[in-house]
């Protein structure tokens, strides 16, 4: 079985709205992608594509700058892929027609994101399984805040107490 997130010849990434396909052996290192949008395309990071680093519109615009088929994109809603203007140069219809209607729709694995708020809680977003004091909870594509200051009255969640105790996360 193919690992989710891979497809033959590369990887794919999604933010739920669009999917970006990456075909490493087609890249000529023109570097438009990371010069335009380092928050999304960061060759120094693993995974190097973070689909939540910018808006869908910005990502599409940047992918369209790629002079090769190394980066291509499509709407996840298949209907929308049927009416694509020719100026969307890197839509799969133009760059990777073999992927059109491939039905290759398994949602890409997106990592759960853990944000460490300065002097505040941990904000965790995505889909994950949580275990606390004997309970198990599936959290589906949502956001929770977990206390990091040790003073919440609603452990394990943040209840704002970090402000009262002036938690300084030095």
């Amino acid at each position: 079985m193919d690992k989710a997130g891979s497809f033959s010849g590369g990887r794919r990434y999604t933010n739920g709205e669009i999917t970006v396909y990456w075909k490493p052996d087609a890249c000529v290192h023109a570097s438009h992608c990371y010069r335009e949008l380092i928050d999304v395309f960061d060759p120094g990071r693993r995974p190097w594509v973070d689909m939540y680093g910018a808006s869908t519109g910005q990502i599409i615009e940047t992918v369209n700058m790629c002079p090769t088929e190394a980066l291509a994109w499509k709407w996840n809603e298949e209907e929308k892929n049927k009416t694509i203007d020719a100026d969307q140069t890197n839509h799969i219809n133009f760059r990777r027609p073999e992927l059109m209607g491939s039905g290759d729709d398994t949602p890409e694995e997106k990592p759960a994101t853990v944000k460490v708020m300065p002097d505040g809680p941990l904000v965790i977003s995505g889909s994950f399984t949580m275990h606390y004091s004997g309970n198990k909870k599936e959290v589906n594509d949502s956001i929770i805040s977990l206390c990091r200051c040790g003073s919440s009255n609603h452990m394990p969640f943040c209840d704002g107490a970090h402000r009262k105790v002036e938690f300084n996360d030095k």
Partner: protein, 69 residues
């Protein structure tokens, strides 16, 4: 079909990480995660990590066992 929200939800659900709140201890996170700490300029995707929730670690955001003292 794509316009059936209930089905769409099921299809989308995929737990990527496991978050375990350890009693009187840290938060253990395993799986596919991305950690961002803007204060310390950390971006990391470890397979397993222990994050301090007692507020006393000298190596925040990580647990350094200070919670035991």
């Amino acid at each position: 079909m794509i316009n059936d929200p209930a089905m769409e939800d099921k299809k989308e659900f995929k737990s990527q990480a496991t978050i375990e709140i350890i009693d009187n201890g840290p938060i253990k996170i395993t799986g596919r995660i991305l950690i961002r700490d803007s204060k310390r300029d950390i971006t990391d995707n470890p397979e397993e990590v222990y994050l301090c929730r007692c507020g006393r670690s000298q190596n925040k955001p990580y647990c350094d066992e200070s919670h035991k003292k």
